[in-house]
Amino acid sequence: MGVVIETKNLSKVYAGVPAVDRASFSVKKGEVVGFVGLNGAGKSTTINMLMGFIRPSEGSVALFGEELTLPGAASSHQRIGFATGDMSLFDSMTGRQYHEFIARAYGVGSQSVVYQHLVDTFDPQLDKKISTLSRGNRQKIALIAAFMTEPELVILDEPSSGLDPLMQQHFLDLVREQAKKGTTIFMSSHYLNEVVDVCTRILLIKNGKLVKDIPASELEATSGKLVRVVTGKKVAPPASAEVVEREKHGHDYTLQFIYKDSPAVLHAWLGSLVDVKDMTINDHSVEAAFDDLYDVKEAEDA
């Protein structure tokens, strides 16, 4: 499989502060990669460098095997669809006019079967001026524009922000459909569940540094139930539990663990406890699993 995106020691420094710090990764053809991190972690800065909007302070980006330069980025863009959650469209145009403008820029027809399929999927308000549309409807226009030219690579920065849950689902279906066709997709998102849902690989970025490069299934597998019990006697956790905390405060023993196996086994274990002083059981979400990965990395760094 060919490499579509390759970065080497990619860095961007603003006023002496690194926004992205020596990020090296590659994305192969057909992969759907989620790019995840907190606000200010460096996701958008990385994407801006991938698109040739800003120049790396150090390191390099190669797209489709060719090193990207700012003056030459347009030639790569012929093969790339791009959308962001805050995409600025042209307010005086209608959605239809905007799509015609995009089609002419790419030299493709604006009434293709693909375009019609996208319109059917998102049901956007095509004949109203973009300035009058809600954020969600503007986002639909931007997403259609990103996919309508049948690009080999789609780069998306927080693409589903502003979409209602139904449209978010349509968007995820579209990503799956495009992935089946072999389109390479690189998307950043705040919605970890959607990243885990559609991506094959996840890159975690923290404080500008790439801290994890894992299969999406690994992040999904780390979710489960978060159990915390305070007992008067020391107890052993269930066999498959992943212990998060084990402490003794005075006469109390606190045990906290993530549990992903059979609920019946957990139920039986809870039933066997004696001298229970406190107990909480919560869903350990993908978000929490993500936090754990972040923290783990922080501990490793320390």
Partner: protein, 264 residues
């Protein structure tokens, strides 16, 4: 590139319409006012005004003939000021204005080279300046019958072309600063300093002796409209504006393709 050029004109259609209408009205009203200076009124005015006032009003002797009046009262002061404001708004809007709104990033994300973006936007600016100039000339032509005077069309052609060249040069300077820096404050400041500074320098150099030595710094120094109306064209002046355009375009061609484009 044609796509972006047409898109730019479409985005600015109300701007073009509004300014063209306003400038046509300016040309019409200023020309129609010529008749009010007949019957010796201008001689009385010449007698009553101090010589230093000519910096603001132009050579009052020029007012006695329609070509001189149009040269000094329409093209020498008012029209350049208005069309300079147009050029500042236009060039700032199409450069830092679009960048601040994130629209420049949207354009750069398309398979359009930055060179093509420069050419499409600059061509649109120059065309809009031409349309505004033609609208003013059109207003003057419409008002001619009300003056009862005839006017050699070449007077308007010379003045129109020179004005267009001047304003295209000014717009290109602001455009180049805007796309090269991406900073609204710098771009607007340059536009205002060049326009207002030139106006003040040219106006007061007529009556303030020490300013005369610096008047060549004024952008309007190279646009002696009254002389152009009389048929005197100094080609070095045209060359100055042409050179300004070329240098500004070289600057933007070198800098813009290599600089970071702001996100929202």
């Amino acid at each position: 590139m044609l796509n972006l050029f047409v898109h730019t004109l479409r985005e600015k259609r109300m701007f073009i319409f509004g300014w063209s209408l306003g400038l046509a009205l300016l040309g019409y009203l200023m020309t129609a006012m010529f008749t009010s200076f007949g019957g010796g009124a201008i001689d009385e005015l010449v007698e009553s005004l101090p010589a230093g006032f000519e910096g603001l009003m132009g050579d009052l002797q020029d007012w006695k003939q329609l070509p001189g009046y149009i040269g000094s009262q329409v093209f020498d002061i008012r029209f350049p000021i208005f069309i300079s404001i147009l050029s500042i708004l236009l060039a700032v809007g199409l450069t830092v204005g679009e960048e601040d709104k994130g629209q420049l990033r949207t354009l750069v994300s398309l398979p359009l080279s930055r060179m093509k973006i420069i050419i499409a936007k600059w061509t649109a600016i120059v065309l809009i300046c031409l349309v505004a100039t033609l609208a003013t000339v059109g207003g003057i032509l419409l008002a001619l019958p009300t003056t009862g005077e005839s006017l050699d069309l070449m007077v308007l052609v010379r003045l129109g072309l020179f004005t267009w060249l001047m304003v295209a040069a000014l717009a290109t300077v602001i455009f180049a600063v805007g796309l090269s820096t991406g900073k609204r404050s710098v771009t607007t400041t340059v536009g205002i300093v060049v326009t207002i500074g030139s106006f003040l320098l040219t106006t007061f150099a007529q009556s303030v002796a020490w300013l005369k030595d610096y008047e060549w710094l004024s952008f309007l120094h190279y646009f002696p409209a009254a002389d152009i109306a009389k048929g005197t064209i100094v080609w070095e002046n045209a060359l100055f504006y042409a050179a300004t355009i070329v240098v500004s375009l070289i600057l933007v061609f070198v800098v813009f393709p290599r600089r970071d484009v702001k996100a929202l």
